[in-house]
Symmetry: C2
Subunit: 147 residues, 2 copies
DNA sequence: CTTGAAAGGATCTAAGG
DNA sequence: CCTTAGATCCTTTCAAG
């Protein structure tokens, strides 16, 4: 993982569909060289996949919430969340809270349904998302100062 | 947005690099038809982009945390978070909490630095991430029962 | 790692239902 | 709005240095 790999990762995070040829010119290498580097990054598991990002609001999911649980039974809550289609992310955490769920749903009614269904697993504190920011490009820590 | 569009979105969320030809066969259409649908989804903003997913742990960022703020000044906190390289996501929320930050950092020392730097903007409650799940494929709400 | 040539696909266009 | 077929273009691959 040198600086060229870092540049490659930045580009692919920004635009997964860039051609290896174009990527090669932006990092000042030949295409075969870039292709080999990308393959290596994939094999090493540094690149986990390539995904289309969809606008969740256009999927009828107009309400987002982050629910904090002081859970009694994290394993069961985790299983419940993994199976629930409205859940986008969930985190088992150590701190004042024990479990955090981010979800996107359709209406206050469906939100209520979720909360009711999740109640048996812990005490929820619901926070409605007003606005948000999600970073698309993540750099290695050592690159923090090389922007 | 019919069921074919939904299938297309599922596929592209799963694998952004699938060729239009292959995508066409999976949804039982011809490639020109699929290409036109994908273009339309892009123009409508349903598809926001195509991004490589990198393994954050392989980026030296071995510690993840979710920090809850009872903030006094959300605007300033937001600006601070947007500019900070360790922040992955942040949310202005309405609830018991006013601001939520997800970050990935290098060490407890760098975590401490972040907390110290963020203190002026509100009272942080730090939760270290033990394990997590992030959904890669999101379906329209109406598709909840069509899996 | 580079270059250049060869091969294999993918996308695009046009014509038609 | 879809399909099929053909042509073009581009990308990747391969071989040699």
């Amino acid at each position: 993982m040198d600086q060229i790999d870092t540049q490659i990762l930045k580009q692919l995070q920004h635009n997964a569909k860039i051609s290896m040829k174009e990527l090669a010119t932006t990092v000042h290498l030949s295409s075969p060289a870039v292709i080999e580097r990308v393959k290596k990054l994939e094999e090493q598991g540094v690149i986990e996949g390539y995904h289309a990002k969809v606008n969740i609001k256009k999927m009828e999911r107009t309400i987002q919430a982050i629910i904090l649980f002081k859970s009694i039974d994290c394993k069961s809550l985790s299983a419940f969340c993994n199976a629930h289609p409205d859940v986008l992310e969930c985190y088992r955490v150590a701190g004042e809270i024990s479990y955090i769920v981010k979800l996107a749903t359709y209406s206050v009614e469906t939100l209520e349904e979720f909360i009711d269904a999740a109640m048996p697993y812990g005490t929820p504190s619901t926070n409605i998302v007003l606005s948000s920011m999600e970073k698309k490009v993540i750099t290695p820590f050592t690159d923090n100062n090389f922007e």
